[in-house]
Protein backbone atom coordinates (compact mmCIF):
# COMPACT_ATOMS: atom_id res chain seq x y z
CA UNK A 1 0.00 0.00 0.00
CA UNK A 2 2.68 2.45 1.04
CA UNK A 3 4.83 1.40 -1.88
CA UNK A 4 1.98 2.01 -4.28
CA UNK A 5 1.39 5.44 -2.74
CA UNK A 6 5.04 6.39 -3.02
CA UNK A 7 5.20 5.28 -6.66
CA UNK A 8 2.09 7.31 -7.44
CA UNK A 9 3.55 10.39 -5.74
CA UNK A 10 6.83 9.94 -7.57
CA UNK A 11 4.97 9.77 -10.84
CA UNK A 12 3.14 13.02 -10.13
CA UNK A 13 6.31 14.82 -9.08
CA UNK A 14 8.20 13.68 -12.15
CA UNK A 15 5.36 14.66 -14.47
CA UNK A 16 5.23 18.13 -12.95
CA UNK A 17 8.99 18.44 -13.37
CA UNK A 18 8.66 17.34 -16.97
CA UNK A 19 5.90 19.88 -17.53
CA UNK A 20 8.02 22.68 -16.09
CA UNK A 21 10.92 21.71 -18.37
CA UNK A 22 8.62 21.67 -21.38
CA UNK A 23 7.30 25.04 -20.31
CA UNK A 24 10.85 26.37 -20.23
CA UNK A 25 11.69 25.31 -23.77
CA UNK A 26 8.45 26.58 -25.27
CA UNK A 27 8.56 29.49 -27.71
CA UNK A 28 7.41 32.62 -25.99
CA UNK A 29 4.38 33.48 -28.02
CA UNK A 30 0.77 32.72 -28.74
CA UNK A 31 1.38 28.96 -28.88
CA UNK A 32 2.22 28.87 -25.20
CA UNK A 33 -1.36 28.91 -23.98
CA UNK A 34 -2.35 25.90 -26.05
CA UNK A 35 0.65 23.83 -25.10
CA UNK A 36 0.10 24.68 -21.44
CA UNK A 37 -3.47 23.48 -21.57
CA UNK A 38 -2.42 20.14 -23.05
CA UNK A 39 0.33 19.65 -20.48
CA UNK A 40 -2.00 20.50 -17.61
CA UNK A 41 -4.41 17.87 -18.95
CA UNK A 42 -1.56 15.44 -18.93
CA UNK A 43 -0.74 16.20 -15.27
CA UNK A 44 -4.41 15.82 -14.39
CA UNK A 45 -4.44 12.40 -16.03
CA UNK A 46 -1.42 11.30 -14.04
CA UNK A 47 -3.08 12.38 -10.81
CA UNK A 48 -6.24 10.51 -11.79
CA UNK A 49 -4.35 7.38 -12.90
CA UNK A 50 -5.34 5.25 -9.84
CA UNK A 51 -9.00 5.96 -10.54
CA UNK A 52 -8.48 5.11 -14.20
CA UNK A 53 -6.91 1.77 -13.33
CA UNK A 54 -9.72 1.11 -10.85
CA UNK A 55 -12.36 1.77 -13.48
CA UNK A 56 -10.58 -0.34 -16.08
CA UNK A 57 -10.94 -3.50 -13.99
CA UNK A 58 -14.26 -5.23 -14.48
CA UNK A 59 -15.29 -6.31 -11.00
CA UNK A 60 -16.67 -9.82 -10.93
CA UNK A 61 -18.42 -10.10 -7.59
CA UNK A 62 -19.01 -13.87 -7.74
CA UNK A 63 -15.33 -14.45 -8.27
CA UNK A 64 -14.46 -12.08 -5.45
CA UNK A 65 -16.83 -13.91 -3.14
CA UNK A 66 -15.33 -17.27 -4.07
CA UNK A 67 -11.86 -15.96 -3.43
CA UNK A 68 -12.92 -14.67 -0.03
CA UNK A 69 -14.33 -18.07 0.92
CA UNK A 70 -11.17 -19.77 -0.26
CA UNK A 71 -9.13 -17.45 1.90
CA UNK A 72 -11.26 -18.35 4.92
CA UNK A 73 -10.82 -22.07 4.32
CA UNK A 74 -7.08 -21.73 3.97
CA UNK A 75 -6.85 -19.78 7.22
CA UNK A 76 -8.83 -22.51 9.00
CA UNK A 77 -6.56 -25.24 7.71
CA UNK A 78 -3.20 -23.78 8.35
CA UNK A 79 -3.82 -21.41 11.23
CA UNK A 80 -2.70 -17.88 11.30
CA UNK A 81 0.75 -16.68 10.43
CA UNK A 82 1.64 -16.03 14.08
CA UNK A 83 0.78 -19.61 15.00
CA UNK A 84 3.01 -20.97 12.29
CA UNK A 85 5.78 -18.70 13.49
CA UNK A 86 5.30 -19.89 17.07
CA UNK A 87 5.50 -23.50 15.97
CA UNK A 88 8.68 -22.72 14.10
CA UNK A 89 10.14 -21.08 17.17
CA UNK A 90 9.26 -24.12 19.30
CA UNK A 91 10.87 -26.49 16.84
CA UNK A 92 13.96 -24.34 16.76
CA UNK A 93 14.23 -24.35 20.55
CA UNK A 94 13.87 -28.12 20.63
CA UNK A 95 16.53 -28.49 18.01
CA UNK A 96 18.87 -26.23 19.93
CA UNK A 97 18.39 -28.19 23.13
CA UNK A 98 19.16 -31.45 21.39
CA UNK A 99 22.23 -30.00 19.80
CA UNK A 100 23.41 -28.63 23.13
CA UNK A 101 22.97 -32.04 24.75
CA UNK A 102 24.94 -33.75 22.03
CA UNK A 103 27.74 -31.21 22.21
CA UNK A 104 27.84 -31.52 26.00
CA UNK A 105 28.27 -35.30 26.00
CA UNK A 106 30.89 -35.17 23.24
CA UNK A 107 32.87 -32.43 24.95
CA UNK A 108 32.72 -34.16 28.33
CA UNK A 109 34.06 -37.33 26.81
CA UNK A 110 36.84 -35.57 24.95
CA UNK A 111 37.97 -33.47 27.91
CA UNK A 112 37.94 -36.52 30.16
CA UNK A 113 40.20 -38.42 27.79
CA UNK A 114 42.51 -35.48 27.13
CA UNK A 115 43.02 -34.78 30.79
CA UNK A 116 43.74 -38.40 31.62
CA UNK A 117 46.11 -38.93 28.73
CA UNK A 118 48.01 -35.67 28.67
CA UNK A 119 47.85 -34.35 32.19
CA UNK A 120 47.92 -37.76 33.91
CA UNK A 121 45.36 -36.83 36.50
CA UNK A 122 42.56 -39.00 37.66
CA UNK A 123 39.33 -37.42 36.59
CA UNK A 124 36.20 -38.34 38.37
CA UNK A 125 33.73 -36.58 36.11
CA UNK A 126 33.48 -33.71 33.67
CA UNK A 127 30.33 -31.73 33.12
CA UNK A 128 30.03 -29.07 30.47
CA UNK A 129 27.16 -26.64 30.04
CA UNK A 130 26.54 -25.53 26.49
CA UNK A 131 24.37 -22.47 25.94
CA UNK A 132 22.88 -21.01 22.81
CA UNK A 133 23.49 -17.32 22.60
CA UNK A 134 21.58 -14.86 20.43
CA UNK A 135 23.92 -15.48 17.53
CA UNK A 136 22.59 -19.06 17.26
CA UNK A 137 26.03 -20.46 17.86
CA UNK A 138 26.67 -22.82 20.73
CA UNK A 139 28.92 -21.48 23.46
CA UNK A 140 30.51 -23.13 26.45
CA UNK A 141 28.86 -21.69 29.51
CA UNK A 142 30.51 -23.47 32.41
CA UNK A 143 32.84 -26.40 32.86
CA UNK A 144 33.01 -28.35 36.11
CA UNK A 145 35.79 -30.88 36.46
CA UNK A 146 35.80 -33.15 39.48
CA UNK A 147 39.18 -34.72 40.19
CA UNK A 148 39.88 -37.69 42.36
CA UNK A 149 41.67 -36.58 45.46
CA UNK A 150 44.52 -39.11 45.09
CA UNK A 151 46.97 -38.16 42.43
CA UNK A 152 46.82 -41.47 40.61
CA UNK A 153 45.52 -44.79 41.68
CA UNK A 154 48.70 -46.74 40.80
CA UNK A 155 50.91 -44.20 42.58
CA UNK A 156 48.95 -44.54 45.76
CA UNK A 157 49.11 -48.28 45.43
CA UNK A 158 52.90 -48.13 45.16
CA UNK A 159 53.10 -45.96 48.16
CA UNK A 160 50.92 -48.34 50.01
CA UNK A 161 53.09 -51.30 49.03
CA UNK A 162 56.41 -49.71 49.75
CA UNK A 163 55.54 -48.44 53.14
CA UNK A 164 55.98 -51.25 55.56
CA UNK A 165 53.90 -51.31 58.57
CA UNK A 166 55.98 -49.91 61.29
CA UNK A 167 55.92 -51.15 64.68
CA UNK A 168 53.76 -49.20 66.85
CA UNK A 169 55.90 -47.43 69.31
CA UNK A 170 54.77 -47.11 72.72
CA UNK A 171 52.74 -44.09 73.06
CA UNK A 172 53.90 -41.75 75.67
CA UNK A 173 51.42 -39.26 76.60
CA UNK A 174 52.78 -36.13 78.05
CA UNK A 175 50.15 -33.77 79.02
CA UNK A 176 51.40 -30.30 78.38
CA UNK A 177 49.61 -27.21 77.43
CA UNK A 178 52.25 -26.40 74.79
CA UNK A 179 52.12 -29.82 73.09
CA UNK A 180 48.51 -29.32 72.16
CA UNK A 181 49.41 -26.21 70.26
CA UNK A 182 52.17 -27.96 68.34
CA UNK A 183 49.92 -30.71 66.94
CA UNK A 184 47.46 -28.18 65.76
CA UNK A 185 50.13 -26.33 63.81
CA UNK A 186 51.20 -29.59 62.20
CA UNK A 187 47.73 -30.38 61.01
CA UNK A 188 47.33 -26.93 59.52
CA UNK A 189 50.63 -27.27 57.69
CA UNK A 190 49.63 -30.62 56.25
CA UNK A 191 46.39 -29.24 54.94
CA UNK A 192 48.15 -26.32 53.36
CA UNK A 193 50.53 -28.63 51.55
CA UNK A 194 47.70 -30.52 50.08
CA UNK A 195 45.87 -27.44 49.00
CA UNK A 196 48.97 -25.99 47.40
CA UNK A 197 49.52 -29.14 45.42
CA UNK A 198 45.89 -29.14 44.45
CA UNK A 199 46.09 -25.53 43.39
CA UNK A 200 49.03 -26.29 41.16
CA UNK A 201 47.21 -29.08 39.38
CA UNK A 202 44.15 -26.89 39.17
CA UNK A 203 46.16 -24.19 37.49
CA UNK A 204 47.72 -26.69 35.12
CA UNK A 205 44.36 -28.08 34.16
CA UNK A 206 42.92 -24.62 33.69
CA UNK A 207 45.73 -23.47 31.41
CA UNK A 208 45.55 -26.72 29.48
CA UNK A 209 41.82 -26.34 28.94
CA UNK A 210 42.15 -22.69 27.98
CA UNK A 211 44.73 -23.53 25.35
CA UNK A 212 42.72 -26.47 24.04
CA UNK A 213 39.17 -25.20 24.08
CA UNK A 214 39.52 -21.45 23.81
CA UNK A 215 37.51 -20.47 26.86
CA UNK A 216 38.11 -18.01 29.66
CA UNK A 217 39.45 -19.10 33.03
CA UNK A 218 36.38 -18.09 35.01
CA UNK A 219 34.31 -20.60 33.06
CA UNK A 220 36.41 -23.47 34.35
CA UNK A 221 35.67 -24.87 37.74
CA UNK A 222 38.00 -27.57 39.06
CA UNK A 223 36.84 -29.40 42.13
CA UNK A 224 38.12 -32.29 44.18
CA UNK A 225 36.17 -35.29 45.05
CA UNK A 226 35.67 -35.32 48.80
CA UNK A 227 38.00 -37.96 50.27
CA UNK A 228 37.06 -40.55 52.82
CA UNK A 229 38.94 -38.67 55.51
CA UNK A 230 37.00 -35.54 54.97
CA UNK A 231 33.75 -37.33 55.15
Amino acid sequence: MLQWLSSWLREIILVILLASFVDLILPSNKMQRYVKVVISLFILMTILSPIVSLLKVEWDFDQLNNQFQLDEVSTNNYGSMSEILQDGEKLKDQNEQETAKLIQTKMEDMIHRQLEEQMSVAVQSVSVKVLFEDSNEPKVGEMVIVLQSQMKPDQTMEVAEVQPIEQVEPVVIDIHLEADDATEVDVVEEQREITEEMKQTENEITTFLISKWDISSDQINVEYEPTMDEI
Binding site: L17, L18, Q32, I39
Partner: protein, 129 residues
Protein backbone atom coordinates in the same frame (compact mmCIF):
# COMPACT_ATOMS: atom_id res chain seq x y z
CA UNK B 1 30.93 29.91 -26.87
CA UNK B 2 28.35 29.04 -29.45
CA UNK B 3 26.22 32.00 -28.43
CA UNK B 4 28.90 34.37 -29.82
CA UNK B 5 28.91 32.52 -33.11
CA UNK B 6 25.14 32.60 -33.35
CA UNK B 7 24.84 36.27 -32.43
CA UNK B 8 27.63 37.15 -34.87
CA UNK B 9 25.94 35.20 -37.63
CA UNK B 10 22.65 36.93 -36.86
CA UNK B 11 24.18 40.44 -36.92
CA UNK B 12 26.02 39.80 -40.19
CA UNK B 13 22.87 38.37 -41.78
CA UNK B 14 20.88 41.38 -40.61
CA UNK B 15 23.40 43.84 -42.10
CA UNK B 16 23.46 41.92 -45.40
CA UNK B 17 19.66 41.80 -45.48
CA UNK B 18 19.46 45.57 -44.90
CA UNK B 19 21.97 46.14 -47.74
CA UNK B 20 20.21 43.82 -50.20
CA UNK B 21 16.65 44.83 -49.30
CA UNK B 22 16.90 48.04 -51.36
CA UNK B 23 17.84 46.24 -54.57
CA UNK B 24 16.44 42.71 -54.27
CA UNK B 25 13.81 42.13 -51.51
CA UNK B 26 13.43 38.47 -52.57
CA UNK B 27 17.08 37.65 -51.82
CA UNK B 28 16.82 39.45 -48.52
CA UNK B 29 13.91 37.16 -47.58
CA UNK B 30 15.84 34.03 -48.64
CA UNK B 31 18.82 35.15 -46.59
CA UNK B 32 16.60 35.53 -43.54
CA UNK B 33 15.19 32.03 -44.00
CA UNK B 34 18.62 30.46 -44.39
CA UNK B 35 19.97 32.24 -41.36
CA UNK B 36 17.08 30.94 -39.31
CA UNK B 37 17.63 27.38 -40.55
CA UNK B 38 21.36 27.53 -39.85
CA UNK B 39 20.79 28.74 -36.29
CA UNK B 40 18.31 25.88 -35.78
CA UNK B 41 20.90 23.39 -37.05
CA UNK B 42 23.42 24.80 -34.60
CA UNK B 43 21.08 24.01 -31.76
CA UNK B 44 20.02 20.51 -32.82
CA UNK B 45 22.65 18.78 -30.65
CA UNK B 46 21.56 20.68 -27.55
CA UNK B 47 17.90 20.03 -28.25
CA UNK B 48 18.55 16.29 -28.52
CA UNK B 49 20.19 16.22 -25.08
CA UNK B 50 17.22 18.11 -23.61
CA UNK B 51 14.85 15.60 -25.19
CA UNK B 52 16.89 12.77 -23.74
CA UNK B 53 16.51 14.33 -20.30
CA UNK B 54 12.76 14.52 -20.79
CA UNK B 55 12.70 10.90 -21.91
CA UNK B 56 14.63 9.86 -18.81
CA UNK B 57 12.16 11.69 -16.59
CA UNK B 58 9.24 10.05 -18.35
CA UNK B 59 10.89 6.65 -18.05
CA UNK B 60 11.39 7.06 -14.30
CA UNK B 61 7.83 8.18 -13.73
CA UNK B 62 6.64 5.17 -15.77
CA UNK B 63 4.57 7.39 -18.04
CA UNK B 64 3.29 5.87 -21.22
CA UNK B 65 5.84 6.64 -23.96
CA UNK B 66 2.98 7.50 -26.31
CA UNK B 67 2.15 10.50 -24.16
CA UNK B 68 5.75 11.67 -24.08
CA UNK B 69 5.85 11.46 -27.87
CA UNK B 70 2.69 13.52 -27.98
CA UNK B 71 4.24 16.20 -25.79
CA UNK B 72 7.40 16.30 -27.89
CA UNK B 73 5.37 16.57 -31.07
CA UNK B 74 3.39 19.42 -29.57
CA UNK B 75 6.59 21.28 -28.72
CA UNK B 76 7.91 20.69 -32.22
CA UNK B 77 4.71 21.95 -33.79
CA UNK B 78 4.81 25.05 -31.63
CA UNK B 79 8.40 25.80 -32.62
CA UNK B 80 7.95 25.24 -36.32
CA UNK B 81 4.74 27.23 -36.51
CA UNK B 82 6.37 30.07 -34.59
CA UNK B 83 9.40 30.04 -36.89
CA UNK B 84 7.34 30.04 -40.09
CA UNK B 85 4.89 32.69 -38.97
CA UNK B 86 7.69 35.03 -37.86
CA UNK B 87 9.49 34.76 -41.20
CA UNK B 88 6.32 35.33 -43.12
CA UNK B 89 5.47 38.28 -40.91
CA UNK B 90 8.94 39.74 -41.54
CA UNK B 91 8.24 39.48 -45.23
CA UNK B 92 5.20 41.61 -44.59
CA UNK B 93 2.38 39.09 -45.03
CA UNK B 94 0.49 39.29 -41.79
CA UNK B 95 -2.52 37.28 -43.00
CA UNK B 96 -0.47 34.22 -44.03
CA UNK B 97 1.42 34.38 -40.72
CA UNK B 98 -1.82 34.26 -38.79
CA UNK B 99 -3.00 31.28 -40.85
CA UNK B 100 0.20 29.42 -40.02
CA UNK B 101 -0.37 30.15 -36.34
CA UNK B 102 -3.94 28.95 -36.55
CA UNK B 103 -2.91 25.68 -38.16
CA UNK B 104 -0.30 25.25 -35.43
CA UNK B 105 -2.93 25.69 -32.72
CA UNK B 106 -5.32 23.26 -34.35
CA UNK B 107 -2.62 20.63 -34.78
CA UNK B 108 -1.64 20.97 -31.13
CA UNK B 109 -5.22 20.37 -30.03
CA UNK B 110 -5.47 17.47 -32.46
CA UNK B 111 -2.44 15.89 -30.81
CA UNK B 112 -4.10 16.25 -27.42
CA UNK B 113 -7.21 14.31 -28.48
CA UNK B 114 -6.15 10.94 -26.89
CA UNK B 115 -5.41 12.55 -23.53
CA UNK B 116 -8.64 14.51 -23.58
CA UNK B 117 -10.67 11.40 -24.41
CA UNK B 118 -9.14 9.45 -21.54
CA UNK B 119 -9.95 12.21 -19.07
CA UNK B 120 -13.50 12.62 -20.34
CA UNK B 121 -14.07 8.86 -20.12
CA UNK B 122 -12.79 8.78 -16.56
CA UNK B 123 -15.02 11.62 -15.49
CA UNK B 124 -18.07 10.03 -17.14
CA UNK B 125 -17.36 6.67 -15.50
CA UNK B 126 -17.04 8.32 -12.12
CA UNK B 127 -20.55 9.67 -12.39
CA UNK B 128 -23.27 7.25 -11.32
CA UNK B 129 -25.23 5.99 -14.31
Amino acid sequence: MEIIQIVGLGIIATILTLVIKEQKPLFAFLLTVFTGVIIFLFLIGKISSIIQLLEKLADQSSIDMVFLKTILKIIGIAYIAEFGSQIVRDAGHESIASKIELSGKILILYMAIPIITVIIETVIKLLPT
